[in-house]
Subunit: 179 residues, 2 copies
């Protein structure tokens, strides 16, 4: 089901060809963020969707994910948990590796970030193959949290991220079905 | 003047010795963020301070700065502008260099992020020497914006960042007067 309010936000996304490398069409959200109405609407749509979901924590992935996750955490009166690249978090962490096109990378979360049984929403700006989202879910589950859902501003649906995320309640505001 | 509400947030900051290197006491804000009441209070204090300031844009510095800047932008119904490390922003940018202990680094902002005459608040999680905050201010001014103020959650006042920022209206929620 297409959310008409969400669909109207599509025109605020800037398409930047050949970034970060030749042949890639980059979906630039900064043009949405800098428009006060569009940014407000984006957070409001997430707020409407998840209020009443009894979420205790919003978990967001470095660094554009922080932009949507923190505003939503404020709205929902939930705690905010940053998931970061290795060695950025100062205290004791757990780690999850994920596949890149060539090789692997990893994400970390503080061990005290989630309490056993807490209901958690994962928030990121964009999902491509779903690898980092799966890693974030695994971090939450390792600490005994329940992944109540995953929300993205943008889904590159032609890369079929939902195959990897089929065990989760996934919401994306704007989907691109081709590059 | 000490804001009593802000001062109560100090106990949510975790002190991590020897991070990122030996001899540094790192002020870890993740323990504040993950507490829903403390995070809500922090944003609310900023909201109370800046509502009525007719701010059109909130500019925040990658990546912890995003966490406070975006939630505040939502509250104040302002646009949000990320300032990032080189080569992270996909479209045309302007750049400002700043001094590190050894060498220099740079920050970038999209050229269309600020319109001429817009009133802007700079938000970051922490100010140490003030170098990155000055760079962010210079980026805003290059685009014709007016820096209406600069807000930090934490000020390492023993490093005297206000010397560099003396031409600006600076607010910090929690100050540390020694390492």
């Amino acid at each position: 089901m297409v959310d008409a309010r969400a669909e109207r936000l599509r025109r605020y996304i800037r398409n930047v060809p050949d970034f970060p490398k030749k042949g890639i069409m980059f979906r630039d959200i900064t043009t949405l963020l800098q428009d006060k109405e569009a940014f407000y609407q984006a957070i409001d749509i997430l707020h409407d969707r998840y209020q009443g979901s009894r979420l205790q924590k919003i978990v967001s992935i470095e660094s554009r994910g922080f932009i949507f996750g923190s505003a939503l955490a404020y709205c929902l009166h939930a705690g905010f948990v940053p998931v970061r690249k290795p060695k950025k978090l100062p205290s004791k962490t757990i780690r999850e590796e994920y596949q890149l096109e060539y090789g692997t990378d990893a994400l970390e979360m503080h061990v005290d970030a989630i309490e056993n049984g807490e209901r958690v929403l994962i928030v990121d700006d964009l999902v491509a193959t779903g690898g980092t989202a799966v890693a974030a879910c695994n971090l939450v589950k390792k600490l005994g949290g329940e992944v109540a859902g995953i929300a993205f501003l943008i889904e590159l649906s032609f890369l079929n991220p939902r195959a990897k995320l089929k065990n989760y309640d996934v919401y994306s505001m704007i989907a691109y079905d081709s590059e």
